[in-house]
Point group: C2
Chain length 155, copies 2
DNA sequence: ACACAATGATTGACATGTCAACTATTTATG
DNA sequence: CATAAATAGTTGACATGTCAATCATTGTGT
């Protein structure tokens, strides 16, 4: 292997920290939601998206797009959430292939009960520790990294 | 709910970007490894850790510590990797409870074959897009966020 | 020594995600 | 219109992770 630019000690260090962070943060978020509200971060994301959406019922595919998830992931999760009574699905009126998602009363209760603690976690974990400047820097860096990955057609 | 500090529009925006990033980047990394080398990021992490370790065989628990993974996660993955012939496990000589992990020839071949493309991905996705200053900033921010989560005993 | 806690690791049940194949509808095209 | 292609979504097989329970070995205190 000729011209591989291997990582320096320092780069290796940052990379490992970064990788641990990518694993550790979502894991912490899941634990917070499970502990305080008995739901997964996926369920929270779906409930939040559906509850904030337009008055018209959300389509399953739109959910996949807005969350940037695979269709089958959405499909599996919605099935489980429907079984738990958090949401309901029905054939879309406009397009016979589509599914419209609506929240049940139980779903509304669940998201309202979970939101305060979860927002608290987000605020204390992400926003409070960073200055305004740092938040801008973070946003910018995430954008740059994301673009680089997109260019490689892996995002 | 009295004094909840909800997120502003802008904060909400950053939070959603952040959350998508936390999901999207590892997913991209997995796709790179699967596509170029037919292995998962977990397998790569294990092979890299074992191959870089001291000459003495690595203990399963040490692997869990250094990767910051749960023991059972390590155990499950090592079982699958042993079945694939990437690594071997044997009872530790010093401590009858421990397991020592060694790489097979096949494991060595796999990591050597996978490393160039994976390092390339890391470099192009993370290091090349960021300036030296930004890398320092990133390291610092990740540390701050991590500390905040650790304080909440969720990390 | 002996009882009992602590440690190292595994296991099983289950939640979640991916990928590829499939069904059903809608759209496009000659 | 007839057929083909595109779109929406589901499904099943399988990889991966969590949690709680379990097992075996090692350490500790008296």
């Amino acid at each position: 292997m000729p011209d591989i630019r291997w990582l320096s000690e320092e780069e290796q260090q940052l990379w490992l920290e970064f990788r641990e962070f990518l694993w550790g943060f979502p894991s912490a978020m899941d634990r917070q939601l499970a502990r305080d509200s008995g739901m997964s971060s996926g369920e929270y994301a779906v409930l939040a998206a559906v509850s904030q959406g337009a008055p018209e019922a959300l389509r399953s595919g739109d959910l996949a797009t807005s969350l940037q998830w695979e269709r089958s992931r959405v499909s599996h999760l919605l099935r489980r959430m429907e079984a738990k009574g958090m949401i309901e699905r029905r054939a879309a009126s406009a397009d016979g292939r589509g599914q419209e998602i609506t929240m049940t009363n139980s779903g509304w209760k669940a998201i309202r009960a979970a939101a305060p603690a979860h927002v608290g976690f987000v605020r204390e974990a992400l926003f409070d520790p960073l200055s305004e400047l740092e938040k801008d820097q973070l946003r910018s860096m995430l954008g740059k990294i994301r673009s680089a990955v997109v260019e490689r057609e892996l995002w």
